[in-house]
Amino acid sequence: MATYKVTKGTPVAFRDGAYPTSYPSPHEGELFYNGSSGAFQFLGVGAGAWSSGGNINTARKGLSGFGTQTAAIAATGNAPSTVTSCEQYNGSTWTEVADVNTGKFYRGNCGLQTAGLLVGGAPAVTDTEEWNGASWTETANYPGTVTFPILLGVQTAAFCIAGTISDSYATETNIYNGSAFTESTAINTARGEGVGAGTTSAGVIAGGNTNSVSALTELWNGSSWTEVGDLNTARNLLAGSGSSSSAMIAFGGDAPARAITESWNGTSWTELGDLSTGRRELGGSSNGTNLAGLAFSGCIANGTVQTSTEEWDFAHPLKTIDVS
């Protein structure tokens, strides 16, 4: 007698173990039989989501955050008194390292856990500090006082963009080469408190404050800035993860404390999964990727500073099919 399997069945792939869930997978959407577990499984469509990371030791807002998801730095900030402490993250735990020389908040920041850069800050200052993985060293001052500029790039080739200069939002930009700042091309819309990704030759900036909370996005091609697709949700005091002008995520921000995550593909922003705790003035893995990011500290809507960290991963969900 014919069985249901014989008359209706469809062959499925056999695999001795589950497919890796890392994104992107050529097996997305595939139903297969896992010989190791003796179960039918399904590799779902890749999606991003935030999960818990290790809690930071000193909660703070307006902090400087840079690095990658598994090697990040959280420096200085406000809690609400200004803090000078600095912590490093190894993918699960935050550990205190050497304090910054100048405790400020709303500093521009970029770089890696072994080579980072801070510029300006609030209250207004011209200070620049370099991090070498063990200590902070003051270097060439910014050409004027600047608060909350957007920094792209790395310690020895950093793009310092806009910010608040002389109490007004600015359009000016400067490139830092590791020892001095050189003026570069102005952006189209004056702003501070935004986010960005890329290098001195190809970058993207978005959001911020332009005297009102902004969704404006601008793309840098090495010689000029062009306005491109706006963020879906205007916001300032947000953070980002990404090292490329065509791939980054932007998350969190005002007002008063957003959980929204948006992904940039070089042309447009797409909304993805929210942070579990909406927050503003947070730190991010500025030089990470759009597939593996980190959000840490900051404050929630009522101003309470947060110790929590969240890790962004883009992966394929693996579902076990229950046929009982």
Partner: protein, 105 residues
């Protein structure tokens, strides 16, 4: 969407587990608020998360009271933290904006 309300301190991440796992975020809505209040989607996965953490279940009213009490205390602290001669703009720069009310979903 219907929600459940619970209280549990966010312990972050250890070498073997996470307070909120990636798979959790794929299965149910979860949102954190002051006072370690967590709002989770009222489905089987949200229920399992509450059980996994032995979170203390609250009614919406109880959870809202926890959040509101914290916000009110922070408002008072903000109102009473003044520096002679400081403008309101300078105060906001120093402390951030005055804490705002939070209404749970």
């Amino acid at each position: 969407m219907n929600y459940k309300y619970s209280v549990k301190e966010n312990w972050g991440k250890t070498s073997s587990d996470q307070f909120i796992r990636h798979e959790d975020r794929m299965q149910f809505h979860i949102e954190g608020f002051p006072g370690n209040v967590w709002v989770t989607e009222d489905n089987v996965y949200g229920g399992r998360w509450i059980s996994r953490h032995s979170a203390v279940v609250k009614t919406k009213s109880q959870a809202q009271t926890i959040v509101t009490d914290i916000v009110d205390a922070l408002k008072d602290t903000w109102d009473n933290d003044n520096v002679d001669g400081e403008t309101s703009a300078e105060k906001i720069t120093r402390l951030g904006p005055k804490p705002t009310d939070i209404t749970l979903p």
